[in-house]
Symmetry: C2
Subunit: 415 residues, 2 copies
């Protein structure tokens, strides 16, 4: 079709995207660690204290001088005298000397002159303050030294990492209570088409509810963005230009879902091209669904022109839009979803030279994960809603036969 | 150890959990579809209108009577007269009769007496109101009939499904603007241990910051729960009982992370046992980490007793706690995470009869996803924070050798 200037492959599309979306546009903000999960770390964070902060026991047992235990066995147990119980949360006292031990709990502070812990299971009480030990331990056994996990000055969190609940735990362990993160990417969504109406309105004949904006807003929020604007735009170049201008300073990333008419496709790229430099960077990809995708950068703003069909719009927003969003958000390195593997349960054809993403349902059949493509005629949202993920057919393949081990990107993986 | 009455296998643990967590405890609430993503559908939702609401074209082209196109080819094109352009968002008019056509856009409404669409690429304009067509089409070609995607009364969304952005799109398509969902599960978190202090406090010798509560709160929220209470509890049976009582009517699921001392482990199960019926259902699992896990149901409340070690607490909260949370939330069927597959890059041993979950780092090495276990001595949070997921070693295996294809549950998969 005339409006496809030159189709790019997915690999070419990625190269272009990487070259033009190379740094975050978001400001740094300082927030409490408890609220940081899912946010992107804006500054490398160093360990502020040794951890553990003191040498501690890794088991329940008795703190000993390893030398005192030499040769102990079930045949020849060794007797030790108990000096005390080391209380959790309290500093420990030194052992009185050789031949002495102290009861210690997991995580308890090792006495300064002890050098090992013998597990409680290897000991036996023979009086209130005496035990027999049935095993020897070597220096350092069942002990975690101060700073053994992390040292003051070690890297705790890299700039660009998306903060997990485990990172939040690690930050808190090290005494960090606030962390620098990037503010969220601001997303704008423009739905073009004279036939589109508010989802809550009753359609007249020929009208269709605009659902792409709801779907794209949900997807963007799931990936940590703030939806700053959602607008429906009539099918006129002036209307599109005006809408883009209204988002100029308020949105970092704009999704445009195209109107369906041929004329729209013709002018969308042109309007974007005139909107700012460098303008349209590719228009059309060897992919299905999503062939008429437009990628552009206009000054500080990234624009992704999506097909109007909801499934096509979703697939491209997920495949290209979310990694773009992650790059703009400052995530580094950008983490891509890991596919799960499944056995395809039917033959499926594809066109060589084109990458396909097909909604599939995953099922466990006697311990084997099988993928069933959800075929559809009009490529509508219902098929996608009933799917568990998208099966990938690479460009080199002309389809797959039943029984092939395929890669499926499941919907529930968010970042 | 004396406090492990009888270890259960993971399979036995699941059976017990399924038998005792068999329905949601959450009330239904009605919310707007735009805000429903990630929530659990509380009532089966039926399609309220046919979709598409009218018979429409699936391509850009010309609406025709299929009969008029019979025999058309590049050698013998057929001439048709253009009656009109069917505007998007408007009702179409019937074709004047045989030999007539109308320009139609993708999604446009088919004229009542037309029965097929010929793609624009197969036609040629020869005057303002005449085209040649180079191909015949059959009845229904490039047409989507009213209600072909979904019919009034079809099932749109099953009770128990977690609503995705695609479901929200499907609901909106069908004119549904509000949806019944379950209110979030209320989670309570009790951290036991005399040595624990607020994460923002400066530890005295022997003290440790309480990080489990931050981590468990983050994990619970990621899975859709509301964290209703977080408390630190001193290592005394009365204190634990009092804390449990204070959560009786405000929390549906309580995580207790155990203090480290032997005595704590002894009394935790006993205090829970006395707290309500049926009480402790298992205490101890053949798993590493997480062996001393306690699962209990006390009247309406589910209690999961986790080890105090942060990695153990995290693994059990993720492995057992999150599916329990999903069941309490009303998710049905409960979706379990799908593992990704990777090639293990080192030998690793395990104990036969015990399931292991080991933090691993995933790396792409020349297109192959490899898993590198993160070894640790004290099983601390830093190793977990640096991992991409947990590698599973099943009970039947006595470890894996390098090169084995292993299953890894990645952290970024939330539901």
């Amino acid at each position: 079709m005339s409006d496809f200037l030159e189709l790019v492959t997915i690999d070419q599309a990625w190269k272009i995207i990487h070259a033009h979306v190379d740094k975050t546009v978001c400001a740094e903000v300082q927030i409490p660690v408890e609220e940081s999960m899912g946010r992107i770390c804006a500054r490398q964070q160093l360990v502020q204290e040794d951890y553990p902060p003191f040498t501690r026991s890794s088991v329940d047992g008795y703190a000993v001088l390893a030398n005192d235990t030499h040769g102990a066995s079930h045949q020849q147990p060794i007797l030790l005298k108990i000096s005390s119980e080391i209380r959790m949360g309290k500093a420990s006292h030194p052992l009185p000397g050789s031949g002495w031990t102290a009861l210690i709990h997991t995580g308890g502070m090792l006495p300064e002159n002890a050098d090992a812990v013998i597990m409680i299971e290897e000991t036996e009480h023979i009086s209130v303050d005496e035990i027999l030990i049935y095993k020897s331990v070597s220096v350092g056994e069942n002990v975690i030294y101060q700073g053994e996990d992390v040292h003051l000055g070690d890297i705790l969190l890299e700039k660009g990492k998306r903060i997990t609940e485990m990172d939040a735990g690690a930050l808190s362990t090290s005494g960090v209570s606030e962390v620098s993160v990037y503010s969220p990417v601001r997303v704008g969504i423009l739905s073009m088409g004279d036939e589109l109406i508010d989802p809550q309105a009753i359609p007249l004949t020929g009208q269709i509810r605009d659902i792409n904006s709801i779907m794209l807003a949900g997807l963007s929020r799931k990936f940590g963005a703030e939806v700053a604007a959602m607008k429906r735009v009539m099918d006129q170049p002036e209307e599109l230009l005006e809408a883009l201008q209204s988002l100029k300073n308020t949105c970092d990333l704009v999704f445009i879902t195209a109107g369906s008419s041929v004329s729209t496709r013709d002018y969308t790229a042109q309007v974007i091209q005139e909107f700012g430099k460098p303008g349209v960077l590719f228009h059309g990809i060897h992919i299905r669904p999503g062939k008429p995708t437009i990628f552009a950068r206009c000054e500080d703003q990234v624009i992704l022109g999506l097909p109007g069909n909801p499934v096509s719009a979703y697939v491209i927003a997920w495949l290209l839009g979310m990694p773009i969003l992650k790059r703009l958000a400052g995530e580094s390195p950008v983490k891509y979803p890991h596919p799960v593997e499944a056995i395809l349960d039917t033959n499926i054809s594809s066109q060589s030279g084109r990458a396909d993403y097909i909604p599939v349902r995953l099922q466990d059949r006697e311990g084997v994960c099988t993928a069933t493509p959800i075929f559809f005629k009009s490529n509508l949202i219902f098929s996608l809603a009933r799917s568990d993920g998208l099966m990938y057919i690479p460009e080199a393949a002309a389809g797959f036969s039943a029984g092939t081990r395929v890669k499926v990107f499941i919907h529930s993986q968010s970042y």
